[in-house]
């Protein structure tokens, strides 16, 4: 499956958002996720089925003004 994660293309075999995050070593309670412009709550990642060409954003806290 071809997925765009934080702007980078990945060819990866996974079926859910949680599997994708584990495969790419994204781990932490401070992460927020969105798929195709929609928020996906942490509790929903296990059941969130990914589709070819989905766009995934994985954000974390950063300094800001």
């Amino acid at each position: 499956m071809n997925l765009n994660v934080n702007g980078d293309e990945h060819e990866i075999a996974c079926s859910t958002l949680a599997e994708l995050m584990a495969a790419l070593d994204y781990e932490g309670s401070w992460l927020a996720t969105a798929v195709n412009g929609e928020l996906v709550h942490a509790a929903d990642r296990d059941g969130w089925r990914l589709r070819d060409h989905d766009r995934i954003e994985i954000l974390s806290p950063m300094k800001g003004g």
């Binding site: 401070w30 412009g37 974390s60 003004g65």
Partner: protein, 257 residues
Amino acid sequence: MLQVYDTEITSRLLLGTAGYPSPTVLSDAVRASETQIITVSLRRETAGGKAGGAFFELIRELGTKILPNTAGCHTTKEAVLTAKMACEVFKTNWIKLEVIGNHDTLQPDVFALVEAARILSNEGFEVFPYTTDDLVVAERLLEAGCRVLMPWCAPIGSAMGPQNLSALRSMRAHFPDVPLIVDAGIGRPSHATTVMELGFDAVLLNTAVAGAGNPAVMASGFAKAIEAGRLAFEAGMLEPRDMAVPSTPVIGKAVFS
């Protein structure tokens, strides 16, 4: 004491967390400022990266309220999604709403800002909108559900200080009961004192502190300047006069010739 939404704060300085030379310097500046509210943002995490986690721990240890921003967003959709993701991470319904409309000045896109403010307010967010000093936009933001306004006094990071005192005075006069926080453009403590003397309720700083030679000392200086301006406003200041007025009584003055 200042009330923003349902939270009472005693410090009238809100401090940004960007641009400090090191995490230690940031922590020292936050503590020296005695701020109760710091601003943060969200950015893409790298695969396998733990940078966000380290920063998350740092800000939690500071013990202040956290005000996430939507910095860098250029559309209503981006800002609304970022606000929701910030809520997920920081467990707060506060959001410093920024929708940038101009790359050079970082001037807000006030049309998208109002739209985003309405959406987020309807979804239960307590919105702190970064706006201009335009009264009509301010009215629209209040109608959209905002109960705090954060006008700029100059472009973000410019350090130019208040560029339109007349507009700021008008804003204060038109919205006497709305908390007004000057959000951007402050460069020096004297700038902060000036807007506080006008009756603004608080000041949000970042670059002026982070970019100082000694951020912690500057943070302390700003805290004092903001308090001085507030005290002056509460005390009531003299209006300037065209002519000199002797301060020492004239009556009873000796006549030597």
